[in-house]
């Protein structure tokens, strides 16, 4: 079974620029999550999708971050405009709706200069 795929793996941008990350979850996983992991910390949830609907986006900074999962499979996370403090690893995770274990992708490492 293929794991969660994410791209790009690395991205360097300047502040105020825009950036987008892509996630392809494990096949059959209805629930998808985006996490932000700042260096030296544990991952922090940004948004949770169930199929193509948002379950929880209470921790998403909506003035600059947006996410979508239009067809209930792949998802994109966008930052516009980026700030220096957005430098982090952005992790995507997925799970089956009826199970509890979340499986994580390798992450996208973002550096904002």
């Amino acid at each position: 079974e293929a794991g969660v795929a994410q791209s790009p793996r690395y991205k360097i941008i300047e502040k105020r620029q825009s950036v987008a990350f892509w996630c392809n979850p494990i096949s059959g996983h209805a629930t998808l999550y985006w996490y932000q992991q700042i260096l030296g910390q544990g991952p922090k949830l940004l948004i949770q999708f169930q199929n193509n609907g948002v379950v929880d986006d209470s921790q998403l900074p909506k003035d600059r971050f947006s996410a979508e999962r239009l067809k209930g499979v792949d998802s994109t996370l966008k930052i516009q405009p980026a700030k220096l403090e957005d430098s982090a690893v952005y992790l995507c995770a997925s799970k089956r709706a009826e199970q509890e274990t979340q499986y994580f992708g390798p992450g996208t490492r973002l550096l904002v200069l």
Binding site: Q41, P43, K44, V55, F104, P106, G107
Partner: protein, 110 residues
């Protein structure tokens, strides 16, 4: 509010010895706990989980202990190997959302 994971930031263990990684949590309503391993440049990898109606669960070379009285969770790794070098996170699953601890970096001494 909910919080998980006062961890010691680092732990060094001799190869072949047992490792014990500890985690404290504050939310008494927590009912499902997970340990994740994160190697450099990779995403967190599920190791083992435990529900609040249990106090111990064993996997292959790993054991998780849960003490609900003092709100303490531990991960024991038997016969630690170089491949066990990583950051270990405890996490609490509440309503299908994970809250992660601060993590412990385990270093294996040859």
């Amino acid at each position: 509010g909910e919080s998980v994971g006062l961890h010691l930031p680092t732990l060094s263990v001799q190869e072949g010895d047992n490792s014990i990684i500890n985690c404290a949590y504050s939310n008494s309503a927590s009912d499902y706990f997970i340990w994740y391993k994160q190697e450099s440049g990779k995403g967190p990898q599920f190791i083992i989980d435990i529900r609040s109606n249990m106090d111990k669960r064993q996997g292959q070379r790993v054991t998780v202990l849960l003490n609900k009285t003092v709100k303490h969770l531990s991960l024991q790794i038997a016969a630690t190997q170089p491949g066990d070098s990583a950051v270990y996170f405890c996490a609490f699953d509440g309503n299908e959302k994970l809250t992660f601890g601060t993590g412990t970096r385990l270093t294996i001494i040859p």
